[in-house]
Amino acid sequence: MYNMISVKDLHKYFGDLEVLKGIDAEIKEQEVVCVIGPSGSGKSTFLRCLNLLEEVTYGSVTIDGEELTDRNTNINELRTKVGMVFQHFNLFPHKSVLENITLAPQKVKGLSAQEARDVALPLLDKVGLSDKADAYPQSLSGGQKQRVAIARALAMSPKVMLFDEPTSALDPELVGDVLQVMKDLAQEGMTMVVVTHEMGFAKEVGDRVIFMDEGIIQEEGDPEQIFDNPQNPRTQSFLSKIL
């Protein structure tokens, strides 16, 4: 299948600190890739380079055939192809659930209010929150917030969805609903890159697991292979700590 994301020799510096030290990765259309690794290893930075929330120091990132790092690429347009879900949801607190979802389709894609509504309502239904359209984010639980955030990203009809630890700020009993929504999405064929330590999700839904440490990909492979039979001593030591 076709390469949806292609990363070549990606380096990222924050000042003098080299956080990504040469990442090469290819992610195919409809593939679900889980990224694991210790805190500070550069997982978030890697994900954020995929929609240029972080400037790439050097190397190249290509999404759906368009090179992000090319000066001629329209970044705003490209970002609409890449949905992102954050650990802390980042819902807009001054807007209702429905308005959170309809804002970007209206302002970026130029849909009318009615058209944007027609996009948003089925998505809200899909994440199981039809009854919350007029609620404000502060009245929602963490799990509900994260599902709204997923619907908000989907409203732009992205080709890729990036998830940065989408369940790690949630109470354990709320994790399941969010993972279910992500599972459904994977089954529909969405290309997904998910930073997560939810082993069950990675094994059940993931096509591939990437283990990152110290700014490089140390090991990658099938979820079973990585979790049950890791080859790299760093992977072994990391897994023994989190299991």
């Binding site: 992102m84 954050f86 980042n90 807009f92 001054h94 970007a104 302002k107 970026v108 502060q138």
Partner: protein, 220 residues
């Protein structure tokens, strides 16, 4: 009884003081109108990526906040308009400029602080959806920041209103100036000053109440 009251020194001063109050209100309103525009520009300028723009506005804010408003008013009235440029700005215009420039510096800090206080994740969420920087500012950051500006802005408005009283030194015919004129003529010093203060309170207290209501209403 009512007649006695109407004849009292307190009430008799009112028509005269009323003229001063009108001037005070006019200078405050105009000064704050321009001050808010300057403050918004300066506040956003201080958040600019460009070091030069940031530097210019920082210098302005620090000079104004580091010097007394009395010196600023004298500077504009005598120092710049008369001595340096040689034009004769009238006292009223000078008063408006002084209040605008002074309030602008404080409002700049209010605007900058409020925008800066909005979580970085809000900006990232907007950008990740494809909104431009400008759209993110307009639809996401600014509305949230604006709410946070209201209490300190209200506070600054009250301060500026009271600051207009120092303009009496450059012969702006504001409330304090008129009060002085009145008690110099009538020797009813105590009564006149009581009325001057009451008139200020007639504006500041309702303003404080309105602001508190607004704060509660905006607290979604």
């Amino acid at each position: 009884m009512i007649e006695a009251l109407m004849e009292s020194a307190y009430i008799k001063s009112l028509p005269f003081l009323w003229e001063g109050l009108q001037v005070t209100i006019a200078i405050t309103a105009l000064g704050l109108l321009f001050g808010t525009i300057i403050g918004a520009m300066a506040g956003l300028g201080k958040l600019s990526k460009s070091k030069i723009i940031r530097g210019i506005w920082t210098v302005y804010v620090e000079i104004i906040r580091g010097t007394p408003i009395l010196a600023q008013a004298l500077f504009i009235y005598f120092g710049i308009s008369e001595d340096l440029i040689g034009i004769n700005l009238d006292a009223f215009t000078t008063g408006v400029i002084a209040i605008a420039i002074n309030a602008g510096a404080y409002i700049a800090e209010i605007v900058r602080g409020a925008v800066y206080s909005i979580d970085k994740g809000q900006h990232e969420a907007g950008r990740s959806l494809g909104l431009s920087k400008r759209q993110t500012m307009r639809y996401i950051i600014w509305p949230q920041a604006f709410k946070r500006m209201i209490p300190p802005l209200g506070n600054q408005f009250v301060i500026s209103l009271k600051d207009t009283s120092i303009l009496s030194v450059i012969a702006v015919h504001d409330l304090v100036y008129k009060g002085k004129q009145y008690y110099n003529a009538t020797v009813e010093v105590f009564e006149t000053l009581v009325m001057v203060c009451l008139l200020y309170l007639c504006i500041t207290i309702p303003l404080a109440i309105i602001l508190r209501r607004l704060e509660r209403k905006l607290d979604v």
